[in-house]
């Protein structure tokens, strides 16, 4: 099995403002499980979209079974025998299992669906996948996440795909479901089908993978590594060996003391995170490190009251905050800069000033009428202090760069006078030059006595910015240490190996 089925060479994909892929090589052989590894933002998702025909590459060559192809559309890729199972499952909830599997390639005569044949083939496919319990007539919206994934796989099989791309298939599966997934994968590869398997879990890659390709910053940094024998340290080194260094402001010389501002104790939400406890003191920056889906954003949103905790308490200054209520959290002095800045925080069409005063409007109102000049002045003072560019607070927020938009969100909470600032991925979509400035701003805030919680999937960011780091994996805090005592490899080992095998002694 040395012949190559798929060979991608020098794939480049640019989006406005970013180079998502800067030269990726990938070769896949028939009957192998080829694992694709890389940190968040390394380019894995873009690469599989290129492979699926959903994105057109700007440069590079794709050889499929020896001949050069360009997948102009998802249909073209499928016709060549490449099927993709996306992370956000691409199913139609209102249609039945059988209808979803054969959507757009129905068994039909003159436009009439041949129901019996469709059902029979569906039953056979589901049996092959080890799930005869799923009925072809069931509405897909009624299935669990695992059930939906089985339907997605049946869909791939229905196309007679010879290459199946699986984007983090295990993320939505329970343990015994993963075993079943592996059994299905082994059955497929034995028949010559190739699998491109994306996962963050190294132990899975050891178990199911044949070869590994590692991506970093949109490039292939290693190809064809043996999935079973390559040491973990080497893989992690390949994934992290960064080329870009950020300037982080110096940490506080002394660890923060005094009574905690924010105390979280035993916080639990079924299916998301379990028994999360931490405290934030005035002037302290606490970082939460973890992968997408580890539960870190959910923890932050629950502390803020946007999600209701199943168990546990959140206290501000020693007083319990009413759970599941954002107004209560804001009254207690919390502010959140959410992950999806544009969707969850900003009024994109409104001006900078309107955005900054959004949480403090009553302060500028008399009998319900807003004193617009006073509001504008307050906003102008705030944006000047944050060195926002452009300076004019009447400019619409949508014309601002990512870094300056983030400053607007932060400015809103500073004007409100918040005591604890929760930052979810504060530098997402912020270009490299502006990041250092944002880091300095966050440190200044802490020095002025604000407690800060930072969530980031970029480990160096958490380590460089925070005083104390909590490592989150699979919805649990698996490790807590001063940032100075951790390095990137240790944190990545922790988040990737999961909570089960690691104890504190292993990493210190």
């Amino acid at each position: 099995m040395t012949e190559t089925m798929l060979q991608m060479t020098g794939i480049v994909k640019r989006f406005p403002g970013v180079v998502a892929l800067a030269g990726v090589d990938l070769d896949v052989r028939p009957g192998e499980v080829h694992c694709l590894l890389g940190q968040n933002g390394a380019g894995k998702s873009t690469l599989i979209k290129v492979l699926a025909g959903a994105h057109r590459p700007d440069e590079g060559r794709i050889l499929w079974e020896g001949s050069q192809v360009g997948f102009g559309s998802p249909v073209a890729a499928v016709r060549h025998g490449i099927a993709t199972i996306y992370q956000e499952l691409d199913l139609v909830d209102g249609l039945s299992v059988a209808d979803n599997i054969f959507l757009a390639h129905e068994y039909a005569s003159a436009g009439f669906v041949r129901g019996r044949e469709t059902r029979e083939v569906t039953v056979a496919l589901l049996e092959r996948l080890g799930h005869p319990d799923i009925s072809p007539g069931t509405e897909v919206g009624r299935l669990s996440a695992a059930g939906k994934q089985i339907v997605s796989m049946a869909r791939a099989l229905s196309h007679d795909a010879r290459l199946i791309v699986m984007d983090e298939p295990s993320a939505v599966l329970a343990h015994d479901e993963v075993e079943n997934l592996f059994r299905v994968i082994r059955g497929l590869t034995a028949a010559g089908t190739a699998i491109v398997y994306i996962s963050h879990r190294l132990e899975e890659i050891r178990e199911i993978g044949d070869r590994v390709t590692v991506l970093k910053d949109g490039r292939t940094v290693a190809a064809g590594l043996d999935a079973r024998t390559t040491p973990t340290t080497e893989i992690v080194k390949l994934m992290t060996g960064r080329t870009i260094e950020y300037a982080f402001p110096p940490r506080q010389s002394e660890p923060a003391d005094g009574d905690p501002l924010l105390e979280v104790s035993g916080l639990t939400r079924a299916g998301e995170f379990v028994d999360v406890s931490f405290a934030v003191r005035p002037g302290e920056i606490v970082g939460l490190a973890g992968l997408v889906g580890s539960g870190r954003s959910e923890i932050l949103e629950t502390v803020y009251g946007a999600r209701k905790a199943g168990a546990g308490t959140v206290s501000m200054g020693g007083r319990r905050v009413r759970p599941g209520s954002v107004p209560a959290a804001v009254r207690a002095g919390m502010g959140l800069a959410p992950e999806e800045r544009k969707a969850q925080a900003l009024f994109m069409l409104a001006s900078i000033a309107e955005n900054v005063v959004a949480s403090t409007l009553p302060r500028f109102a008399r009998a319900g009428f807003v004193d617009r000049r006073a509001a504008l002045e307050a906003a102008a003072a705030q944006t000047a202090a944050l060195e926002l560019r452009p300076k004019d607070p009447r400019r619409p927020v949508r014309t601002l760069s990512g870094g300056n938009q983030q400053k607007v969100v932060v400015g809103r909470w500073l004007l409100k006078g918040c005591k604890v600032l929760l930052l979810d991925e504060p530098t997402r979509g912020v270009d490299i030059g502006a990041r250092s400035e944002l880091y300095a701003l966050i440190r200044d805030l802490a020095d002025s006595g604000v407690g800060v919680v930072v969530v980031s999937s970029e480990v160096p960011e958490v380590l460089g910015l925070a005083d104390r780091v909590l490592v989150v994996a699979d919805g649990r805090i698996v490790h807590e240490a001063p940032a100075a005592e951790l390095d990137e490899h240790q944190v990545l080992d922790l988040v990737m190996e999961g909570s089960a095998v690691i104890t504190k002694e292993d990493v210190v």
């Binding site: 691409d90 199913l91 669906v113 319990d133 509405e139 059930g147």
Partner: protein, 335 residues
């Protein structure tokens, strides 16, 4: 990651329960049938000897026929994630166009052709602007609602145009095996619509486009072309409705089909089709039309005033949507 969750395999009892309940739409259809039975009982008590007669039943169905045909097209549009506010205006325009002196010169065949062609073309314009012009369905069909009726007024000079060919008027009075032709037309359109929605690839893809347009695109469906076709279908239904209404009133007028869009949308919604698309039932829509028509019929037989009737209709719409929300929540529990 959800390793903390219990095993989420679709367990057999849940699936069995789902199968027994049938789809959400069917469950609610049962509710509408119960409402119809209740209305029948109320009718039998309050209008004895009037409501439960063969003549009144046929009269009721004839009243329902035009709006019923329009509702079939509307059901497709809403399941595909759209809305068509222009159906009443299309009927007015088609009825006026087919009753101009020029059109009437071609006889009954030419008149029917004119009505169908005009309605289909207007539907295609709606669809093209929405699918290829990437405009919001609400805006496009609202604009069409205004301008199609305006064009109808322009052509007719706001006068009713009398149909001169007696054969055309006969469409409304002919009977097939004792059943009015208009009712037969509704039945045919409803059956064809049901088969198209539930037994063909076109129907399956309509659900897919409305339920998850991105998934439909990735699966290889030409979402834009499909969207266009759905609005064309709505136009065709309006054309049929225009012929029926013109025959029934023996006139073409720019005032035909007033507020039909609201009646059709209301019938679709209480029939269990989600206004957001992706889920729906044609049987439900037809039952919705019958519920509304029966209420109107009851009010007329009891000499009650229209305002009260409208209040009752509004209450039914709200109740139906509340029911829909409850159904969705129950649906979510089984995930």
């Amino acid at each position: 990651m959800t390793a903390t969750e219990p095993a989420t395999a679709p367990d057999a009892p849940v699936l069995r329960r789902a199968a027994r309940l049938g789809s959400l739409g069917e469950a609610r259809n049962l509710g509408l049938i119960i409402v119809l039975v209740l209305l029948t009982v109320v009718g039998a008590i309050t209008a004895p000897g009037l409501f439960l007669t063969w003549g009144n039943l046929l009269n009721l169905l004839t009243t329902a026929s035009v709006i019923g045909v329009v509702t079939v097209g509307m059901t497709f549009v809403i399941i595909a994630g759209g809305i068509d506010l222009s159906v009443g205006a299309i009927i007015a325009l088609a009825s006026v166009w087919c009753t101009t002196l020029a059109s009437q010169g071609y006889g009954i065949g030419g008149m029917i052709f004119a009505a169908m062609a005009v309605a289909t073309i207007v539907g295609a314009v709606n669809g093209a602007l929405i699918a290829y012009g990437r405009m919001v369905p609400f805006i496009v069909t609202l604009a069409m609602y205004v301008s199609a009726r305006g064009l109808a007024e322009q052509i007719s000079g706001r006068r009713s145009q009398i149909v001169s060919d007696p054969a055309f008027a006969q469409i409304a009075f002919n009977k097939v095996l004792g059943i009015p032709l208009l009712v037969v037309i509704l039945a045919v359109v409803a059956v064809v619509g049901w088969v198209l929605l539930n037994r063909t690839t076109f129907g399956r893809r309509t659900f897919a486009v409305g339920g998850n347009a991105e998934a439909a695109r990735l699966a290889g469906i030409d979402v834009r072309r499909h969207t266009l076709l759905v609005y064309v279908l709505s136009g065709v239904c309006c054309g049929i409705g225009a012929v029926m209404l013109t025959a029934l009133t023996n006139t073409g007028a720019s005032t035909h089909g007033m507020l039909y869009e609201l009646d059709a949308i209301a019938a679709v919604i209480i029939g269990g089709t989600l206004l957001t698309g992706g889920r729906g039932s044609l049987v439900g829509s037809i039952l919705g039309v019958l519920v509304f028509t029966t209420i109107t019929n009851l009010f007329i037989l009891n000499n009650l005033e229209t305002p009260i009737q409208n209040i009752a209709k509004g209450a039914i719409i709200v109740a139906a949507v509340l029911l829909q929300r409850r159904g969705d929540r129950r649906n979510a529990v089984t995930h």
